[in-house]
């Protein structure tokens, strides 16, 4: 295991201590941070390792939220519903990946973006199952008290984050990660050396969907009420990318740090600039891309190496 992956696990372990310090609101922020870390780490499999600019995160998130939400509405327990949503997303995304991942560059970006649009409209129009535009109520588990509930959902989301991190680390160290890396660098050459690129990309896409859907399912249970424009929000696709760019593409540690840093910034900006916070965020994004194009990792030792390489 590389040092950076060890550091990632240490970071995640540190996050687990949050309930010792924070109150309910800190736990809410922590839950959201874990959720976005799941999204960003998952995105990294397709976007960072394989180099496909995927905007499908929102689609998987919404899919998971609705899949689990509908099942919970039918009386399934949370855990079962979330696992079912994750498996369904894994299968659906793997199959979809085989089709969509034939596209490259902008075309793939748009196709993945449209996926969320299509799913949202489908959910919107399947009124009988999903409540359509009226949204979906998810029954409350039980009135177990503010802190107990906050802690429960925090650890649920944290658990998914841990699993996602493990998945990403395992992928990075096995044949699949190697394959995705090859695909990013040169897809033609990859297939010429006997790599089934379609299969590798599809599995990568499926894995990146699976945990996002699980996060979506937990999210649905957590907020008790979801509606299509909320869970298929394009920002669920865009933010993980900004986070990954912030932290440094491809590096799981960087991506996780990027997620936490981004949310920290967003929270501070949101509190302090009520009227102009989206603009301030925009300025931050622009500055980041112009001056730190490799994210936080460009602050690290390997900057020199990169420089040498580009020279």
């Amino acid at each position: 295991m590389t040092r950076s992956n060890i550091a990632l696990l240490i970071l995640i372990a540190c996050v687990a201590a949050l309930p010792l310090f924070g109150g309910a609101y800190a736990l809410r922020l922590g839950t959201i941070a874990c959720m976005y870390a799941v999204l960003a780490l998952s995105w990294n499999v397709v976007g960072g390792f394989a180099g496909y600019p995927s905007f499908a995160t929102a689609a998987f998130f919404g899919f998971g939220a609705y899949f689990a939400g509908v099942l919970m509405g039918k009386g399934w327990p949370l855990a079962a519903a979330v696992v079912a949503a994750a498996i369904a997303a894994l299968i659906a995304a793997t199959l979809l990946g085989a089709v969509l991942l034939r596209l490259r560059g902008h075309y793939f970006a748009i196709a993945s973006l449209s996926l969320a649009e299509v799913l949202r409209e489908v959910v919107n129009n399947a009124t009988d199952l999903t409540g359509g535009g009226m949204g979906l109520n998810i029954p409350l588990a039980s009135g177990s008290g503010v802190m107990a509930e906050a802690t429960f959902y925090f650890y649920a989301m944290w658990g998914v984050m841990l699993l996602t991190a493990i998945m990403v680390i395992v992928v990075a160290q096995t044949k699949l990660g190697f394959a995705l890396n090859c695909i990013r660098q040169n897809e033609t050459a990859s297939s010429m050396v006997g790599l089934n690129t379609t299969l590798a990309k599809s599995i990568g896409f499926g894995l990146s969907a699976c945990f996002v859907a699980a996060a979506g399912g937990i999210y649905a249970a957590w907020v008790h009420y979801i509606d299509p424009s909320d869970v298929f929000d394009i920002l669920y696709s865009v933010k993980p990318i900004v986070m990954a760019l912030m932290g440094g593409l491809g590096s799981p540690l960087g991506v996780a740090c990027g997620a936490f840093l981004y949310l920290g910034l967003e929270e501070v900006v949101w509190r302090n600039y009520i009227q102009i916070h989206t603009g301030v965020l925009g300025v931050l994004i622009v500055l980041l891309l112009l001056f730190l194009p490799h994210g936080l990792t460009s602050l690290r030792f390997d900057r020199l190496r990169r420089r040498a390489k580009h020279a």
Partner: protein
């Protein structure tokens, strides 16, 4: 002698352009076949078609007794068809070692990352790149990258190896070294089909030559025979030969 590769009536079109027209060709095991012809004759397209990159519109391709006309590139690669690219295609960020390891890993079922890297070291040593094993591919010189291509192709343990202009852009010392490598490969029993412009190399290495012109083979036979074939020489080869030999001779 049984055939390793057999093409029957293979054709390929690109929106209006007939790149390959009714190609019949067979390659016997152990042969070193030279594929020559002027630019645009369809040599690289022929390799691409055999490897499944640009599948044939019609005709059949048999490899080692099985029909591979419709197989995908990666399947062809796993069956033992391997190739180098005219324009080298390394994994730029990977080290030379990982480049070769990738080839070993994905072409051989059951290979692990570790065993692939071990195998890769041997192949790098064979092509003389062991000193550069940990260098990113992007930092290698062109000659080194060409050899890296070769190491990658070898790591796939090919039955049939296509060499697409491995000598283009190399100086004469480098060419000599590459030619020696090809000789070694041929001796080790790998069947080779090489696209080559340098007639010196072709005559030196090949056991047979096929001349492709406008997507169609116009001559096929022993090297000396073919280049003295008046039709070939008069049509275009003479001029080419003259130029090439003058430059490199």
């Amino acid at each position: 002698m049984p055939e390793l590769l057999r093409l029957t009536g293979v054709s390929r079109r690109f929106s209006g352009l007939q790149a390959l027209r009714d190609v019949n060709l067979s390659v016997a095991p152990g042969e070193v076949l030279g594929l020559i012809g002027p630019n645009g004759a369809g040599k690289t397209t022929l390799v691409n078609t055999i490897c499944g990159v640009t599948p044939a519109n019609s005709g059949t391709i048999l490899f080692d007794g099985t029909d591979i006309t419709r197989t995908k590139p990666y399947q062809a690669a796993r069956r033992g068809l391997s190739r180098t690219f005219q324009i080298v295609q390394p994994f730029a960020e990977f080290s030379a070692l990982d480049n070769v390891a990738a080839a070993a890993l994905f072409s051989q079922p059951g290979e692990s990352l570790k065993s692939a890297r071990e195998a890769a070291r041997e192949h790098l040593a064979f092509v003389g790149l062991d000193a550069q094993a940990d260098q990113p591919a992007a930092t290698l010189t062109l000659a080194m990258r060409k050899r890296l291509e070769l190491a990658k192709a070898l790591a796939m343990q090919p039955k049939l190896l296509f060499l697409d202009e491995v000598n283009a852009g190399l100086n004469s010392a480098e060419v000599e070294r590459a030619t020696e490598l090809i000789h070694q490969l041929a001796r080790s029993g790998i069947t080779i089909v090489m696209i080559e412009h340098l007639m010196k190399v072709v005559l030196n290495v090949c056991t047979r030559i096929v001349v492709l012109h406008n997507g169609h083979p116009i001559a096929d036979g022993a090297p000396r025979e073919v280049i003295s074939n008046p039709a070939v020489v008069e049509a275009y080869l003479g001029q080419q030969y003259a130029q090439r030999t003058a430059r490199h001779g």
